[in-house]
Subunit: 460 residues, 2 copies
C-alpha cells in the first residue's frame, strides 16, 4: 500500500487538476467547526463519472483512502482525511444535466449547489426546496441526508432523491433507480446511499424532485414569553395538520445575536418564524389557523410579512444564525450539534436542555426545525481550552442521551461523521453490526471515507 | 440439511401452532393469480418476535428456507415455497402495540391489517392512509413496498414506515430506527427492509406514520371520450400542484365490468375517480381546479359525490376491480401486472399499451394510480392453455420493456417475487450485483425467502 504511488499515478492523468499545495490540502481537511481535521495527501478535481471511476480504480489498486468532498459545509468532521488519502473535490462537476419540468424532476452532477440549481430553474416556475442553510451541493446533501427549514412540508433528501449514479469502491458504476416516482423493484439502493456519508461509494449524479413555486407565500414572526409556549404552538400546529412550509424556533439568546448581527429589531424572546405556501386563499387560511393557535398559547406579538423584502430579510437572518452566534464570542469555535425527538417530547427535551445549559454556564444558541422535532445547539467554545472542550463534550453527551431516552436520534440532519460516532451503538445497538456487514460487502478494503460513521468493533 | 428435522424440532415447541395439513400448506403456497405456487413443508404461527427468533434459529441450524407470509394478498408469487421450507404465517401477531396520537404514529405487530389498524384508530381522529386495495397486513405491505390509491397524497410504505423490528437470518433482532421523524444517523436500514420481500429478514413489528382524518372529503367521477384526454387531465393536475388525495383511472372495459359486478351505472368510457382532502374550503378549491382542468380536456361529465354513501360505493367498486375483471371471463385466472413511468410519458405508455392489447386480442382491464404514473393491467387467461400463457407473457414482456424505455420501472407497487425476476437485470443492470452483495452479507446461507427477487447469476 502506498498513497504516494496513487498520488503520482493520478498526477500523470489529472495534472493541474490534482493539487498537493498545503493551502488546498488544509482547506479540504478541516471544516469550520470545532472538530479536529486532518489533511488529505492530495486533492483531485474530477469532471465526470468516468474520471471518478479512474480515480477510484487507481486508489483501490494502491489501497488509498478516497474522501468525497462537496461544498465543505458539513459540520461533523465528515471530510477530515483521518487515514490520509485522496480527496475528490466534486465542485467542478457542476453541470445541471436535465430538467424535466413536466415530471417535476432534475438531474444534476453532484457538485451542483442548491442555489445554483434554483438559479437554473428561475424561469421554469419550479424550485428545489431543501435548504440546509449553507449553499451545499447536492452530492453532499445526499451523502449527509440533509434537510433544513422546508423539510416539514417538502421532506428531506431521503424523500427528494429519485435516483443516483454511484461509483463503487471497485470502480463499478451503478444507477440506483429510474425516474419513476415510485417502484417496488428490488432493494432501495437510493435510500442506502442517501446518508451514507461517502462510506459506500462516490455519488456523481443526483436526480431530485422539484416542486411548483407556490402561487402565494405568507410569512409571520411571533414571539412568546417562554420556550414551552412556543414549542406547544408548534406541536399543536403539526397535530392540526396545517401544511406549514417552515416553522423555525430561535431562543432568546439567538434573537439578541441575530438582531445585533443582522441589524434587526425583533423581540428578544423565544420566537417562531413561520412560512405558508399555497394558493392565496389556502396560505392565508393556514396562517390564520396558526395565528389562532399561537394566540391561544399566549404569543406576545404576531407580525405578518407578506412583503417579499421583509421576508427575505427574515430568512437571511435565519441563514446567518451560525455567524451571528459566533459573533457573540469573537474568536470562539462552534460545537454545532443537533438532535431530533418525537414531537410530543420536544418541549420536555428543549426545556431540560435549556436548564442544563444554564447550569453548565455554557454560551449557546438554540434554533430548531421544530416542526420535525429537530433542534440545533451552537456552543461557542475556545477550542484550545481542554476544560471548555471537555465541558462542552459532556453537555453534548447529555443532550444526545436525553434525546435517545425520548426515542429520538443523535442527529436529525448533521450526520455522524467523526463527531457522533460514539453515539452509534447507544442509538442503534445491534443494527450497527448490520451496517458494518453492508459496509464490508460493498467496500471490503475499507477505502471509502474510512474511519467515519461506523465505530470500530470493540477489542475483545 | 434436513427440512424434516427442522419441522420435527419446531413441532415440539409450537405443537398445534405448526401445521402440515395439506389444505393449510396449499393455502400458503399459492396466491390467487396465475403465478405457479409451491407448498411449504410446514406452516408455523408465531405470536412474538421471540418466537420468530426461535423459529429462525432452528431453521438456520437445519439450513431450512424461511418464508414470511402476511395476509397472502401479494400477486407475484412472493410466498411460493420454491425451495420448500417453513412458512411463518404472521397473522396471529396482530396486536396494535402503541398509538402515539400526539406524534401521529403507531407501532403494530406485523400481522395487523390496515383495516384492523384503522378500526383501532376510529375514535382517535387519525387514520393510516395507505390502501393497496386488499386488506393486507402491515408486515407484508412493508415487505412489498405497497402503496395504492392514496399514495399520490400520502406517499407509499417507503415514506410511511418510521421503524421496523426485524429478525435477521442468524436470529439476531434489530430495531432499524427510532421514532424521530427524521434522522441522519447511519445507513437507512428501514428503507433497506421496506421492499425486501422477506429476503433479508423477518419483519415482526412496524412503526408507521398516521395522519389526521381530513376535516372535509370531496369526491368526483368524470369520464372522457378517450384515454389520452383522461391521462392529460391527470398530468396537468399533478403539474399544477393540486394536493389531490386520489386520482384513479379505469378504462372503458373495466367500467363495463364494474357496472356489472357492482351494480352501478357509470358511463362506459375512460373514467377518473377523484378524491380531495382538506378543510371544506381547500377541498372545494382543489376540486374546482381539477374540474376546470378536466373540462378543458373535454370530459363528458363530472359528477360530484360529497355524500358519504355514494363515495363509499364508488371506492368499494374500485376495490372490487380484480373480481369484476375476473367475472368478465368466468374460470379464468388473472395475470396481474403493473408498471410505473415518469408522468410525462404516461399517456404514451398507456395509449401504446392499449393498442398492443387490441392487436393481441387479449382480454384485459386497465386501472391506474395515475397520479404517480403507475398503472395496472389484469389479463384474464386460461392458465391451462400454454398458448394463452405464452401470449400473455409476451405481452407482459413488451409492457415492461416499454416502461423501461421510458425511464420507468417494471413494477410500481406489486414487487418482484417470482413473476418479475427476469426484469431485474434489464431494469437495474450492475446494481443487481450490489443487491446480491447485500443479500449475501445479511443472509449468507440464502435461507430468507430464497429464489425470489434476485435472479441467479448467469452460468459462465
Amino acid at each position: 500500500m502506498s498513497i504516494a504511488d496513487a498520488v503520482s499515478e493520478l498526477k500523470l492523468i489529472f495534472q493541474e487538476r490534482l493539487s498537493t499545495a498545503p493551502s488546498v490540502l488544509e482547506q479540504h481537511g478541516k471544516d469550520w467547526t470545532w472538530n479536529a481535521g486532518r489533511n488529505p495527501d492530495a486533492v483531485v478535481f474530477p469532471h465526470s463519472t468516468d474520471e471518478v471511476v479512474r480515480i477510484v480504480k487507481i486508489c483501490a489498486k494502491h489501497q488509498t483512502p478516497i474522501i468525497p468532498f462537496g461544498a465543505g459545509t458539513s459540520v461533523e468532521g465528515h471530510f477530515a482525511a483521518v487515514q490520509g488519502g485522496i480527496t475528490l473535490d466534486m465542485q467542478q462537476m457542476n453541470e445541471v444535466l436535465a430538467v424535466n419540468a413536466e415530471d417535476l424532476d432534475a438531474k444534476v452532477q453532484a457538485g451542483v449547489t442548491r442555489e445554483q440549481l434554483n438559479r437554473h430553474l428561475r424561469h421554469s416556475g419550479l424550485f428545489f426546496p431543501i435548504d440546509p442553510g449553507a449553499d451545499a451541493c447536492l452530492g453532499g446533501m445526499t451523502a449527509t441526508r440533509a434537510s433544513g427549514t422546508n423539510a416539514v412540508r417538502y421532506g428531506t433528501m431521503r424523500e427528494s432523491v429519485l435516483a443516483l449514479t454511484v461509483v463503487l469502491a471497485d470502480g463499478r458504476v451503478i444507477q440506483t433507480a429510474r425516474r419513476a416516482r415510485k417502484s417496488s423493484s428490488g432493494y432501495d439502493l437510493t435510500r442506502l446511499f442517501v446518508g451514507s456519508e461517502g462510506t459506500l461509494g462516490v455519488i456523481t449524479e443526483v436526480t431530485v424532485r422539484l416542486f411548483g413555486i407556490p402561487e402565494a407565500v405568507t410569512s409571520a414572526v411571533c414571539s412568546f414569553p417562554d420556550m414551552k409556549r412556543a414549542v406547544d404552538t408548534v406541536i399543536e400546529t403539526i397535530q392540526s395538520g396545517v401544511p406549514i412550509a417552515r416553522i423555525e424556533m430561535l431562543d432568546e439568546v439567538l434573537m439578541e445575536a441575530v438582531n445585533h448581527y443582522s441589524k434587526l429589531d425583533y423581540n428578544v424572546a423565544p420566537t417562531l418564524l413561520l412560512e405558508f405556501h399555497g394558493t392565496k386563499s389556502s396560505a392565508d387560511e393556514q396562517a390564520r389557523s396558526v395565528e389562532a393557535i399561537a394566540r391561544e398559547h399566549g404569543c406576545v406579538d404576531f407580525r405578518w410579512s407578506a412583503d417579499e423584502n421583509e421576508r427575505a430579510k427574515m430568512w437571511q437572518a435565519r441563514r446567518d444564525v451560525p455567524w451571528a452566534s459566533l459573533a457573540l464570542r469573537p474568536g470562539s469555535k462552534m460545537l454545532a450539534t443537533d438532535v431530533c425527538v418525537p414531537i410530543s417530547r420536544l418541549a420536555d427535551c428543549i426545556v431540560e436542555t435549556k436548564a442544563d445549559l444554564a447550569e453548565s454556564k455554557i454560551l449557546a444558541t438554540l434554533v430548531g426545525h421544530v416542526g420535525d422535532g429537530n433542534f440545533h445547539l451552537g456552543l461557542m467554545i475556545d477550542p484550545d481550552s481542554k476544560e471548555e472542550v471537555a465541558h462542552a463534550e459532556a453537555f453534548s453527551e447529555r443532550l444526545v442521551h436525553r434525546a435517545l431516552a425520548m426515542d429520538g436520534t443523535c442527529t436529525g440532519e448533521h450526520g455522524i461523521g467523526l463527531g457522533k460516532m460514539r453515539f452509534m451503538i447507544p442509538e442503534h445497538g445491534e443494527a450497527v453490526e448490520v451496517m458494518r456487514m453492508i459496509k464490508s460487502a460493498l467496500d471490503p478494503q475499507n477505502l471509502m471515507n474510512p474511519g467515519k460513521m461506523l465505530p470500530a468493533r470493540a477489542e475483545l
